[in-house]
């Protein structure tokens, strides 16, 4: 017999028993079930109601922890009760108290939701979870009686398990309402996070909106204007919903920050009843407001990567993609060091930051052949310090296999720039030092096609521009 069928048949027994002489209690129970079920039809459409409803409703977060504690206490008492009968006796009282407090909490919760005009899936789920929990607890009360009379030993404990699961789910919905849906996972270690909650995929992950506007909305606004709640019919959890606006119309007017409702609301004096974020939540910082204002002034584009007048640390240099983990190659790397003298130095304790090829100690003897021996580690090398070594133009053919190379030092070498065009196949190369070489300005031509090459140094070479101050040339 399946568990469900078991529970059903036992409920039937309970019902039979109840009919035999516990009529007042059954009537009370039936009335409670009716009231609870009627709550399911409570209209939660974002329409606020009388203030007194909210006044009482706001005691819900306070009251709600009482049944939680009692319900969690229940299995503890039942289990310990096998040894000490007194505890088992207490469990009966705790169960009834739990049921009573759950009912009170549900009433206050309904007052809060109805009074403050909540809407959205999370609040509905929370309410339904609470009602389900109350019904299950009532069943528990009945089942416990039969259990004590030595019938249906297992059913009560199965029901208790179901109660605990329902409680967890309902409490989580309530937590999401209060703290926002990402509260639990926000500071989860990244490895775990990938497993539990795959990050939201944005169509423009490097845009100014994704990097600097969305995080502000996510932390400060989405707990009330998101999937969990939709206060004022407004959702701020994506670019599209932000631009769509809410019941009061659009909240972002591109190129018109003063006409954007969102900016108006967050810059009101905090005492103003229309000030956002409401209910004493953390206000936006002047920095965040400045970013949003600048972004709106610049057209509120979902794609733009930068916004005039706003400089954000680390913004102009996008995080380069992580290289693979070289830890497994460590013995080989160390052996290489012993035999070659040139070193492969970790950029940081994080293996995905890559390795630096350091030749300082053996610069005068480090040539193309030596460099070729490092091909095995090509993908892990992010910076090649080849300054003042004996490498020549031929080294470039080896270097283009260092696909993750971000910085290349060739200063003071015999490089003439013959093969520089090949470097265009290094997508990450951001820094190239050709100071004190024989490179001519013509040889630099092909480098103009490298969008990531931001720092090119040709000091003391034929390619150096006439004015010394301009020896730093940007290709952008």
């Amino acid at each position: 017999m399946s568990v469900g069928a078991k529970v059903a048949s036992q409920s039937r027994d309970v019902w039979q028993k109840a009919r035999q002489g516990r009529r007042p209690r059954v009537v009370l129970g039936a009335a409670t079930v009716l009231v609870l079920l009627s709550l399911l039809f409570l209209p939660l459409n974002g329409q606020p109601h009388a203030d007194w409803l909210q006044f009482f409703g706001r005691f819900h977060p306070l009251l709600v922890h009482l049944p939680i504690g009692l319900i969690v206490l229940l299995p503890v008492l039942e289990i310990l009760g096998t040894r000490r009968p007194a505890l088992r006796e207490a469990a009966g009282l705790v169960l009834q108290l739990a049921l009573a407090t759950v009912l009170v909490a549900i009433v206050f919760g309904a007052l809060l939701a109805y009074g403050s005009g909540e809407s959205g899936t999370t609040v509905t789920r929370h309410l339904r979870g609470g009602i389900l929990l109350a019904l299950e607890l009532m069943l528990c009360v009945a089942l416990r009686r039969t259990w004590l009379e030595a019938q249906h030993t297992r059913a009560y404990f199965v029901m208790l398990g179901v109660v605990l699961l329902t409680l967890t789910w309902t409490a989580h919905q309530g937590g999401s309402l209060t703290y926002g849906s990402g509260y639990l996972t926000r500071y989860m270690p990244p490895a775990m996070k990938r497993f539990v909650a795959p990050s939201a995929v944005s169509s423009h992950p490097n845009s100014f909106f994704a990097k600097h506007i969305y995080p502000v909305l996510d932390t400060k606004c989405v707990s009330c204007h998101g999937t969990t709640k939709e206060q004022g019919g407004l959702r701020l959890d994506s670019y599209e919903s932000l631009m769509a606006g809410g019941k009061d119309g659009i909240v972002i007017a591109p190129r018109n920050p003063d006409g954007s409702l969102l900016l108006k609301k967050v810059t009101l004096p905090p005492s103003d009843p229309h000030f956002m974020p409401a209910e004493g939540r953390a206000p936006l910082t002047p920095d965040e407001i400045a970013r949003i204002r600048a972004w709106v002034s610049a057209g509120a584009s979902p794609e733009a990567r930068s916004v005039p007048g706003i400089f954000i640390a680390g913004d102009e240099e996008e995080a380069p993609p992580p290289v693979g983990d070289y830890s497994a190659l460590m013995p080989q790397i160390q052996q290489m060091q012993m035999s070659q003298g040139a070193k492969l130095v970790p950029v940081s304790a994080e293996p995905s930051d890559g390795l630096i090829l350091r030749t300082t100690d053996v610069a005068s003897t480090f040539d193309d052949a030596q460099l070729a021996k490092f091909q095995k580690f090509a993908l892990f090398i992010v910076e090649a310090e080849l300054g003042r070594t004996a490498v020549t133009d031929d080294s470039i053919s080896t270097l283009i296999q260092f696909k993750n190379l971000r910085a290349l030092h060739l200063e003071g070498t015999a490089v003439t720039g013959r093969n520089l065009a090949k470097l265009t196949s290094l997508p990450q190369l951001a820094y190239l030092n050709l100071s004190a070489t024989k490179v001519s300005s013509d040889a630099l031509g092909p480098l103009k096609n490298m969008p990531n090459l931001r720092h090119l140094y040709v000091f003391n070479s034929p390619a150096e521009p006439a004015s010394a101050d301009n020896s730093v040339r940007s290709t952008q």
């Binding site: 640390a313 950029v347 304790a349 300082t360 300054g387 030092n433 000091f459 010394a468 101050d469 730093v472």
Partner: protein
């Protein structure tokens, strides 16, 4: 109750010591042990032994292991840098004696009208002054003697005393709200360098050498260059305490190059000793040292072996380092004629650039003489003339050679100077006393955002009114630029996890980071 005559805790207080017996016997008695004493002591000993064996494994034994410097047991377990650093190396231009921020960087135009006015007592509050001005009857305001002008695209106000620095303001990051705990040179300069006013702690350079290690096996990881003193200036002493490795292994302490004569003494092998002989001799010495190490186990013996080897390699690397004959003409155009004379500030700046190229992790250039208690008008222009061009040349040279991308340059003194005059104030001259509550420092290069001015002082350049940066915050920021989380970078000593930024919480100055 009848007591046994040998009972030691007699109720009637008569012990054998009270009996009329010879002193020799009494002495013998005192050495005897009663059954009670024996049993009691045995019990205690067993208890202690049990406790020791319980703790011994986990506590004492590991403490003993930990006292061996981690360097000896391999630095790899430090796992530094903690994150990908912006800067690989740093050059620290230390202005010993404390430059007057009011005259150089902290522009206060309103003060001109208040010449010789008394500084309001409320500004000073209950601050305790130095003995040099505490007795002054009044604290007359001495506005900067030299005009300020705006420079660069950032429009930064700089004194006309620094024409070269003015040209690179867009590359610099100024902190005007730096403040310290000490009001006198020695504690302040120790605090700046080691994070502690008392001697004995490792300095910033030693921490970096210990944590990040060398980038060039042939040169020291941490080099100190002293600028020749100008006898007309008020030179405060600078000593090896400031580049000491403290409780870290002594191989991490700064190696000072001499400012006059040979940069390193006895660099040449003595007459009749060739490289081969020298090598053999060092090998023999090393063998003896290794025996000593095996016998005594003092980790300092390891340091000594390392230092012998370093000295041997420096015999060839230092002459190459200090040989400026291959510098292109553009170098001399930039640094000026001073740079050709060893021991000048400009020369040291050039040397610092050459060391940056050659992989020296941390170079500290000391310039003394900024302690202008009197005759500011006479001394300050000289000091600025001595240092201004060197600073500009260093930053510019690093920039054009592509080195500023991974080098952090720092310019700082140990505290600031007062806005009020020490001694007599006239239109022609004034003096300035020590002032720990605010001073200006600048940084440039890797890790910091160029063209930023951080922090503000009040209208008297006396108290910080916005974004204070304590010395430990400043040091935490420097470590951050080099990829180090100052809270995680510790060394166990005297039972503490010692760190550069002291046990007091320190904060990286996020507002200036690139």
């Amino acid at each position: 109750m009848k007591q046994h005559p040998l009972c030691t805790d007699c109720e009637d207080k008569i012990t054998p010591m009270d009996l009329p017996i010879p002193a020799g016997l009494k002495h013998e008695w005192s050495k005897c042990e009663s059954r009670r004493q024996f049993l009691g002591r045995t019990g205690k000993v067993l208890g202690w032994a049990a406790l020791a064996s319980l703790f011994g494994e986990v506590g004492l034994y590991h403490r003993a292991l930990a006292s061996v410097p981690e360097a000896a047991s391999g630095k790899d377990n430090l796992r530094l840098p903690h994150f990908a650093p912006k800067a690989k190396r740093a050059i620290y231009l230390f202005m010993s004696g404390a430059p007057p921020q009011v005259d150089l960087f902290d522009y206060k135009p309103n003060l001109t009208a208040q010449f010789n006015a008394d500084m309001p007592a409320s500004v000073r509050g209950n601050q305790q002054l130095t003995g040099m001005t505490a007795g002054q009857a009044r604290f007359p305001i001495a506005p900067a003697h030299w005009p300020f002008n705006q420079h660069g695209q950032t429009g930064t106000w700089i004194s006309d005393l620094l024409p070269h620095t003015s040209r690179m303001v867009d590359d610099l990051t100024f902190i005007k709200s730096t403040n310290t705990d000490a009001i006198n040179h020695e504690p302040a300069i120790m605090l700046m360098n080691t994070g502690n006013m008392n001697a004995g702690k490792p300095c910033l350079g030693a921490w970096l050498a210990y944590g990040l290690g060398s980038m060039n096996d042939n040169l020291p990881t941490f080099v100190v260059l002293q600028t020749k003193t100008n006898p007309k200036e008020n030179n405060q002493p600078v000593s090896s305490r400031l580049w000491s490795s403290g409780f870290l292994s002594s191989e991490f302490s700064g190696v000072g190059l001499r400012s006059v004569g040979d940069p390193v003494l006895y660099l040449e092998d003595p007459a009749g000793v060739d490289r081969e002989t020298r090598r053999k001799m060092l090998d023999a010495v090393e063998e003896i040292n290794r025996q000593t190490l095996a016998e005594v186990g003092d980790p300092e013996t390891n340091s000594r072996i390392a230092q012998y080897e370093m000295a041997f390699r420096m015999q060839s690397s230092v002459p190459e380092l200090t040989d400026l004959s291959k510098e292109p003409e553009s170098t001399w155009e930039l640094y000026g004629p001073d740079a050709k004379e060893p021991g000048t500030f400009a020369y040291n700046c050039l040397l610092a650039r050459r060391m940056a190229e050659r992989g020296v992790r941390f170079t500290q250039v000391y310039k003394r003489g900024w302690d202008v208690h009197d005759n500011v008008v006479g001394n300050l222009p000289v000091l600025c003339q001595e240092t201004d061009r060197g600073c500009y040349s260093l930053v510019t040279d690093l920039k054009r050679r592509g080195l500023l991308n991974d080098t952090l340059v720092i310019w700082a003194g140990e505290f600031g100077r007062t806005v009020y005059s020490q001694g007599g104030l006239s239109q022609e001259n004034y003096g300035r006393d020590h002032h720990p509550r605010c001073f200006t420092v600048w940084m440039a290069g890797a890790g910091v955002r160029p063209g930023v001015t951080y922090g503000e002082t009040d209208e008297y350049s006396y108290n910080v009114v916005k974004d204070p940066v304590h010395v430990r915050d400043f040091n935490a920021t420097i470590l951050h630029c080099l990829g180090i989380d100052h809270n995680k970078f510790t060394y166990k000593f005297q039972g503490l996890d010692q760190k550069l930024t002291s046990p007091v919480p320190a904060f990286v100055v996020q507002g200036i980071l690139a």
